[in-house]
């Protein structure tokens, strides 16, 4: 008798499936990623460094990091409270709230951008008032942050809701019945339980916040050195026939994403024992 395996499929089928999956990944992920780096370095390391050190590129990089640095923490807070509310409490409009959280996933980013144009544009609902009070939201950093928050909103909440629901509220109730305050229950019971899910959500959220193009493009105004994020800057370089520079900056953006993933793997490896215990 053969040793028991998880599946009963013949060996050739398993090989075919594995090859198909790996082949797909190679063609659709590894190859394009490699192409970005190869194209970026096509004109040599000096040209690569020049493209990255160019003032407009530096300002785009800064802006991208600023936007992510504001949008991601805000999404952590909002995502945590939303999933906390949904997983630990019962209330009437819960399904409605869950649907609302999913909205940014189903709405096209362009529409997300246009929502803010309708709200804050000079012809929009709040535009005239903002104009009168000299507040610039659209075509400035606040607009970019708002659009990014909208697009990346579900990442944290979507990671946490199933996790928290699965864990139930027994531990929290135990802590409370033993006299812990609400805050310390959250800090010592809930947060340790969800930290891996939270971290994963934050990393995804961050990657998307830095890479978002559509919504940001609508509200940016494309002012060079002012309101161009890295993805917008890449498009500009490409349209200027600056192909090597476009790919150099693209590789920088890809590099940021890779660092994010590396960070995640590193943490997973470092805390492998705890992870195994948690099953997540």
């Amino acid at each position: 008798m053969k040793p028991a395996t998880a599946t009963a499929e013949p060996r050739w089928l398993r090989w075919v499936l594995t090859a198909a999956a790996l082949g797909f990944l190679a063609i659709n992920l590894a190859l394009p990623l490699a192409a970005v780096f190869i194209e970026g370095f096509r004109k040599g390391i000096a040209a690569y460094a020049a493209a990255i050190a160019e003032p407009d590129a530096i300002s785009a990089l800064k802006l991208t990091l600023i936007v992510a640095a504001i949008a991601v923490p805000l999404n952590i807070i909002i995502g945590l409270s939303a999933s906390w509310a949904i997983a630990k409490f019962d209330f009437r409009f819960k399904p409605f709230l869950v649907t609302l959280i999913d909205l940014p996933f189903s709405v096209s980013p362009v529409v997300a951008g246009l929502i803010y144009v309708l709200l804050f544009g000079m012809q929009g609902w709040l535009g005239p008032w903002l104009q009168a009070n000299d507040i610039q939201i659209l075509f400035a950093v606040p607009g970019l942050v708002l659009a990014t928050i909208f697009v990346t909103f579900p990442f944290v909440a979507r990671e946490l809701i199933p996790l928290m629901q699965e864990q139930g509220r027994d531990e929290e109730e135990a802590a409370l019945s033993l006299g812990a305050s609400g805050l310390s229950t959250f800090w010592h019971v809930t947060l340790p339980n969800i930290r891996w899910g939270l971290l994963y959500g934050v990393l995804l959220c961050n990657a998307r916040a830095m890479g978002e193009f559509g919504a940001v493009s609508v509200v940016s105004g494309h002012i060079r050195g002012k309101t161009n994020t890295l993805p917008l800057h890449i498009e500009i370089l490409y349209n200027e026939y600056n192909f090597a520079a476009a790919f150099a900056v693209a590789s920088l953006l890809a590099g940021l994403a890779l660092v994010t993933l590396l960070l995640k793997s590193l943490l997973e490896w470092r805390y492998a024992g705890q992870l195994a215990g948690r099953g997540h």
């Binding site: 530096i58 600023i66 544009g121 610039q136 494309h222 002012i223 060079r224 490409y238 349209n239 026939y241």
Partner: protein, 338 residues
């Protein structure tokens, strides 16, 4: 938990110096020029020359910020509140839209600067591959069976509307009636494999991705493409007749009044008409208005017979309604995406 907090603190400490705003340095005056796509190279040089000139005349530093995009989209952004001190767009109609929809500048803006507020002009030409392998000489060749024509979508790109009207003008001149012109243009667009949404996208498709036999494009864009991507790869073909394309410039009154930048914005636009400005215009592939500069660059810009939007098409408002409105001529000939 604490370890994670330490990691986060370390990341924050490393990134903090990057997040400091870079703009807090100089108290110089700045203006924003909202322009369309193919003027990037032109305004890069104009801005440097004007800043130098302004510094000499007034002692002040001026920074000109640039925003580029499709002309119609840029006009829309200004209408929605993009704080442009000046707009330099592909056609006067886009500036008319800013005037009528957002009342940011008076309706008679075009009378405020010489030459109807158009300091430079261009025309529509063909870009073909080196040696002209498909032997494309004039507009009729674009309607030949089997020729692949690259041109952007006139519904979405301001520049592309000029392409369409140039073809139409030829059709009408050669074949007499509007019906015959429509038939001719329909045959041209039957040869268009993909309609890109913007002019630069179409150029990249033709030049970089190698699609199509001929690109219908502005002369300045053709000159720049040949220059940037290799004169050994492309050739410019000037048809027997074409259209005069007139990008327009204007001060956005409401913005300059609020920001107190009228003097510098006005000087900036007038700089375009000076010999120095016109020289840059010519070098960057646009046809200069100044007769002396035009004579100097006569080799680069051969004389051509040109239609005019006002004289031959009754102005932009009318052309827009007839050709590019929903259900208009373009929709009729390009039903079902060709």
């Amino acid at each position: 938990m604490r370890r994670i907090a330490i990691v986060i603190a370390a990341v924050a400490a490393l990134t903090a110096p990057w997040l400091m705003p870079a703009t807090a340095l100089a108290a110089t005056v700045s203006i924003l020029n909202v322009s369309y796509d193919p003027t990037r190279e032109l305004y890069k040089d104009i801005n440097a020359a004007f800043a130098h000139d302004w510094k000499l005349k007034t002692g002040d530093d001026v920074v000109i910020n640039q925003s580029h995009g499709g002309s119609g989209k840029q006009a829309r952004s200004v209408i929605d509140g993009l704080q442009a001190d000046v707009v330099t767009l592909a056609l006067g109609q886009d500036i008319d839209e800013i005037s009528t929809r957002a009342k940011l500048l008076p309706a008679e803006w075009q009378a405020r600067l010489p030459q109807n507020s158009t300091p430079y002009y261009s025309t529509i030409v063909f870009l073909v591959r080196k040696g002209n392998p498909r032997n494309i000489r004039d507009w009729d060749d674009l309607a030949r069976p089997g020729i692949k024509v690259i041109t952007p979508n006139p519904k979405t790109g301001g520049g592309a509307r000029w392409n369409f009207l140039a073809a139409w003008g030829y059709g009408q001149k050669k074949y007499g009636s509007p019906a015959a012109a429509q038939d001719y243009v329909k045959r041209v667009f039957a040869n268009v494999p993909i309609l890109d949404s913007g002019a630069r996208g179409a150029t990249v498709n033709f030049a970089e991705r190698g699609l199509g036999d001929v690109l219908i494009t502005w002369e300045n864009e053709a000159l720049l493409t040949a220059q940037e991507l290799g004169a050994d790869r492309f050739e410019i073909v000037r048809p027997s007749v074409s259209i005069r394309t007139e990008p327009a410039v204007a001060i956005v009154d409401k913005v300059v009044e609020k920001r107190g930048t009228r003097a510098v914005a006005d000087a900036y636009l007038r700089f375009l008409y000076t010999p120095e400005g016109q020289e840059i215009v010519a070098r960057k592939g646009y046809r200069p208005r100044d007769p002396a500069i035009a004579a100097k660059y006569a080799d680069r810009f051969p004389n051509m017979q040109l239609f005019e939007i006002d004289r031959n098409f009754g102005g932009w408002a009318k052309a827009q309604a007839i050709f590019f409105s929903d259900g208009g001529v373009f929709d009729q000939i390009y039903e079902g995406g060709g």
